[in-house]
């Protein structure tokens, strides 16, 4: 028994090392550039593919293998620099969600390029020379290569520590992590600094991928598989903190290794559960520090002006079109128009929380999904009519908004965004795993509108009234005193608190309102699509596409 547990722990250490390599690059890049680099997983995948090509092409042996791995990591570094110069430089100042989308574009491009170059089939690389076999540890066999990996993690951590504490460049990077504006004011070339940091981060990602070669097959899914975990590690450890990333990687590796002994089915969500707990207890991660940017050049948006007459006319014209044209359209166009109406509301609710609310949400799709499930579950298990389902949708999403929001609105920036994501993942995997109630990944089928709403045109008008109506209510809320208070809290939290506004409560209510609106959008959607299944959750699909 004991020897099994020991070896299980060693397996966890090996996974932790691989995870740390990727996460260290991500955290270094984030620390300096403050960019949420979704493409980091793609760099990892490129490292694996390139090293496969190099190692299989070069002569077998130590030089061929280790040389291939290192050269692959360096090439990935160059690719990273190209991405930084061509794309990221332009979006450093954009909101987090835009960075997420921009770098997600890179993910798609890299996937297609990899498919073109290496083909669809999984590739199995050769094993590492000299480390093919296994050793006996208390009578249990353990692969040599995994032992080697266990050593690589601390080694890289040590080298990075030396780099950051014993070189001038490293000192500048640490200074930039602590206070970017001050470093800029002192005359450090920020462009050069960002590009070199990106090179280092990319090399680490490439090395992480290349070192997986003897361990795992190289495939087109490995980018998205690693990125979610790497983000979790970075956030748990504290953004920008290398020792934190190391600690978090150890924690996650062990949790994974022992978790599957006790709960073999919840591996999917374990990491996110831990992240949620850590963020609730320590809002800046285990070893993270609150950003000390009191003097940061904060861009304050001008207040929203009321719509100009031109905008008003355009709005009415669009609405008139949406009302008058559909009777003359085909069935499929009606389905598309219905979806557009639903997406208008969903987008408006996301804008409500991110724009005036000033809170980045990566998990907003959860409320859409919960609304869809609320309506579909009621119909499935209690044979409730559609009308009741439409009523249940905002209730269910709103309830989740109350609970999740209470935790999320305490945090700010990327931490808040990651916590919303963690809650979304937890809700998603509940829907995914609670097969008896939710039908698991098969979803809930056979939910159709009531008889009167069966004709596609009638359903469209119903969705239009509901979605446009709620969208207008959200707009009303933005221009009401509540909306002004919300924006005051966003633009100048200290002054808002000083004049007696309860920032927490205002943001919490906004969070709940946005969740309810998203829930209404979700609740109107399962009917025409007839299938409410976990992958319906739009951002979830982007995260993993499973």
């Amino acid at each position: 028994m004991f020897e099994n547990l020991l070896v299980q722990g060693l397996s966890g250490l090996a996974s932790a090392s691989s995870l740390f390599l990727v996460a260290s690059g991500l955290t270094v890049i984030f620390g300096v550039t403050r960019i949420v680099n979704f493409a980091h997983g793609s760099l990892y995948m490129m490292g694996a593919y390139l090293s496969w090509t190099l190692v299989t092409a070069l002569p077998r042996g130590h030089l061929g293998f280790w040389g291939g791995v290192l050269v692959a990591a360096l090439i990935v570094g160059v690719i990273g620099v190209l991405i930084e110069v061509l794309l990221l430089r332009r979006i450093y100042k954009a909101p987090e969600l835009f960075q997420l989308l921009g770098t997600f574009g890179v993910v798609l491009i890299v996937q297609d390029v990899a498919l073109m170059i290496w083909g669809p089939q999984d590739l199995l690389g050769p094993r590492a020379p000299g480390l093919r076999g296994a050793v006996e540890i208390l009578g249990v066999r353990f692969p040599l290569y995994e032992l080697f990996l266990i050593g690589v993690g601390p080694l890289v951590l040590g080298l990075l520590w030396l780099l950051f504490h014993r070189t001038r460049w490293g000192t500048t990077v640490r200074a930039a992590t602590a206070d970017r504006e001050m470093v800029g004011a002192l005359g450090v070339n920020q462009r050069m600094l960002f590009t070199t940091v990106f090179f280092l981060g990319s090399v680490l990602a490439g090395l992480g991928g290349a070192l997986q070669l003897p361990r795992e097959s190289v495939n087109l899914q490995m980018d998205l598989a690693i990125i979610a975990e790497a983000f979790v590690v970075v956030v748990i450890g504290g953004l920008g903190s290398l020792p934190g990333a190391f600690l978090a990687a150890l924690l996650l590796g062990q949790l994974q290794a022992f978790g599957i002994l006790i709960f073999p089915k919840i591996t999917l969500v374990l990491a996110f559960l831990v992240m949620a707990v850590v963020l609730v207890v320590r809002p800046h991660g285990l070893l993270g520090r609150p950003p000390a940017s009191a003097h940061a050049a904060h861009v304050v948006e001008p207040p929203y002006p009321p719509a100009t007459p031109l905008v008003r006319y355009l709005g009415f014209a669009a609405l008139a079109l949406a009302v008058l044209v559909p009777p003359f359209m085909g069935e499929f166009a009606l389905i598309v128009f219905t979806e557009i109406a639903i997406m208008v509301l969903f987008a408006a609710s996301l804008h409500f929380i991110m724009g005036p609310g000033g809170m980045a949400s990566f998990g907003h799709a959860a409320y859409f999904g919960l609304g869809a499930y609320g309506a579909a579950l009621l119909a499935k298990h209690f044979a409730a009519p559609m009308e009741l389902g439409l009523f249940a949708a905002p209730l269910m999403a709103g309830f989740a908004g109350v609970v999740f929001g209470w935790f999320c609105v305490r945090l700010s920036g990327v931490y808040a965004a990651m916590l919303t994501l963690a809650f979304a993942q937890i809700a998603w995997s509940t829907a995914f795993q609670w097969v008896e109630v939710t039908g698991g990944d098969n979803g809930i089928l056979g939910v159709w509108p009531s008889a009167w709403a069966q004709p596609k045109l009638v359903y469209y008008y119903m969705a239009l009234v509901l979605c446009v109506g709620v969208t207008l209510l959200l707009r009303r809320a933005i221009f009401a005193p509540f909306g002004y208070a919300l924006r005051a809290g966003r633009d100048s939290p200290l002054r808002a608190e000083a004049i007696g506004m309860d920032g927490f409560r205002i943001r919490w209510v906004a969070f709940i309102l946005a969740a309810i609106a998203a829930g209404i959008a979700g609740g109107s959607s399962p009917m025409p699509r007839a299938a409410s299944s976990p992958p319906t959750w739009p951002f979830r699909a982007a995260w993993t596409r499973c």
């Binding site: 070896v7 299980q8 397996s11 966890g12 996974s15 989308l101 997600f104 798609l108 297609d112 498919l115 669809p120 089939q121 999984d122 590739l123 199995l124 296994a134 066999r141 353990f142 692969p143 995994e146 361990r215 795992e216 097959s217 495939n219 087109l220 490995m222 598989a225 994974q256 290794a257 599957i260 002994l261 073999p264 089915k265 591996t267 999917l268 085909g330 499929f332 389905i335 979806e339 997406m343 995914f432 097969v435 698991g440 990944d441 098969n442 979803g443 089928l445 056979g446 159709w448 699509r529 007839a530 299938a531 299944s533 992958p535 319906t536 739009p538 699909a541 982007a542 596409r545 499973c546």
Partner: protein, 404 residues
């Protein structure tokens, strides 16, 4: 909506539309709407689409169906049920297809089947393996070609019951396919051999297996037999860690789908030996029909067919046979033609029948052992397990499927 653009879908769609002038008259071509996860599952579906085009060209070269050509409009669902349903609506309403086909993932198949039921259209599901498609959630409009999870489990249990192993462990991806495969395997094996014991089960998330820890957890329970349901990248990683750590030594392994070239080829010279698997021995299968199929495929695509190729070719054969029998594209006539339809399979084995009782075809699978030959994995000692022998009795089927 989703940020992932249906990239290839647009291209495929455009290509198909260009190739086909929009003639919807009765005498125009018969159009099939084929929805599949082309971009999400390229390893299976690239050979699938190849063979589909080959079958379609052969039918059209031979004069089509009563003089009408057949034509396919391809759509990519990217592995997302809601996209599949949207495409289904577009295919039926805009492209005026006569019937729908395709589906790889079970949840996508079920979503399209539900759409077919609601919109009263014929849906010929080619690949999705879930039992629910023809049983618990079966409907009048849906037919399925591949042997289901239940059937393939029954084939493997037949062999597993002959083994001396009593202590079993299972490892399966954590979604419906993996869960129901494990459930059936346990149930059927316990029925065949009441003294078996299940000592461990692992459910890694699909595509995310932590292979080292999973292998160690299985080894820790010290089973005599292992039932494996993982495939693709999970399988590759599981095998590599398992062989290094000696998990498969002195243990019997029974494995679903591992004999399919899609999953066996990537393992190269590390393919496990002596596993009992279901699959497709494309190299040694020399029935007359299959030799012809294999050579035609090789001549056209310069590679050997995968199981996906057979699935696509048989799907087209079944649809063509059905259209010849129905004499038109009215949905009711097509459903009547599908029920009890017999058609030849690219395996070159006995004709396959679409059962009227549950709309499941009797296509079988090959069952054999894995071995290494010339540095890659192959199936040896294989035999064809005819699907009709691995289905429950009609009474049981009736109790499983909603009637009326």
């Amino acid at each position: 909506m989703t940020i992932a653009l249906p990239r290839r879908a647009a291209l495929l769609g455009a290509a198909a539309t260009l190739a086909a002038p929009a003639v919807h008259a009765q005498e125009g071509p018969i159009r099939i709407g084929e929805i599949n996860s082309y971009s999400a599952q390229p390893a299976f579906l690239t050979p699938y689409r190849n063979a589909w085009m080959m079958a379609q060209d052969e039918v059209n070269a031979a004069g089509g169906i009563n003089g009408r050509r057949i034509e396919t409009v391809f759509r990519d669902d990217g592995g997302r049920p809601e996209d599949a349903v949207r495409h289904a609506g577009e295919l039926v309403n805009n492209e005026r297809v006569a019937l729908l086909s395709g589906g790889f993932l079970s949840n996508v198949g079920l979503a399209v089947a539900d759409f077919a039921n609601q919109n009263r259209r014929l849906y010929v599901a080619s690949e999705p393996l879930t039992d629910a498609l023809v049983w618990a959630r079966g409907n009048r409009f849906t037919f399925r070609l591949r042997p289901s999870t239940y059937m393939q489990c029954a084939m493997l249990v037949e062999e597993a019951a002959k083994l001396p192993a009593r202590r079993w462990a299972t490892v399966a991806p954590n979604y419906e396919y993996g869960q129901s495969a494990v459930r059936w395997f346990k149930e059927l094996l316990t029925r065949a051999k009441p003294d078996v014991q299940f000592v461990a089960e692992q459910f890694p998330a699909l595509g995310r297996i932590d292979a080292g820890a999973t292998v160690q957890a299985l080894a820790g329970a010290n089973p005599e037999g292992i039932f494996n349901v993982t495939f693709g990248a999970d399988l590759t990683n599981f095998v590599r860690q398992g062989s290094t750590r000696g998990l498969f030594e002195r243990r019997s392994v029974v494995s679903l789908l591992t004999g399919e070239p899609e999953y066996l080829d990537p393992l190269g010279d590390e393919a496990p030996e002596g596993w009992i698997v279901t699959g497709y021995p494309w190299e040694e299968l020399n029935t007359e029909g299959h030799t012809r199929f294999r050579e035609n495929y090789r001549r056209r695509f310069n590679t050997h067919p995968r199981l996906g190729s057979v699935v696509a070719y048989d799907t087209v054969s079944a649809i063509v046979g059905m259209l010849r029998k129905s004499g038109g594209t009215e949905t009711d006539a097509m459903i009547n033609a599908m029920r009890g339809l017999t058609f030849p399979t690219a395996f070159g084995e006995a004709e396959v029948e679409f059962r009227a009782i549950d709309h499941q075809s009797t296509l079988g699978a090959y069952i054999g052992r894995t071995a290494l030959r010339r540095g890659r994995g192959v199936m040896v000692d294989w035999r064809y397990a005819d699907g009709r022998n691995y289905l429950p009795t009609d009474e049981v089927v009736r109790s499983l499927r909603p009637q009326g």
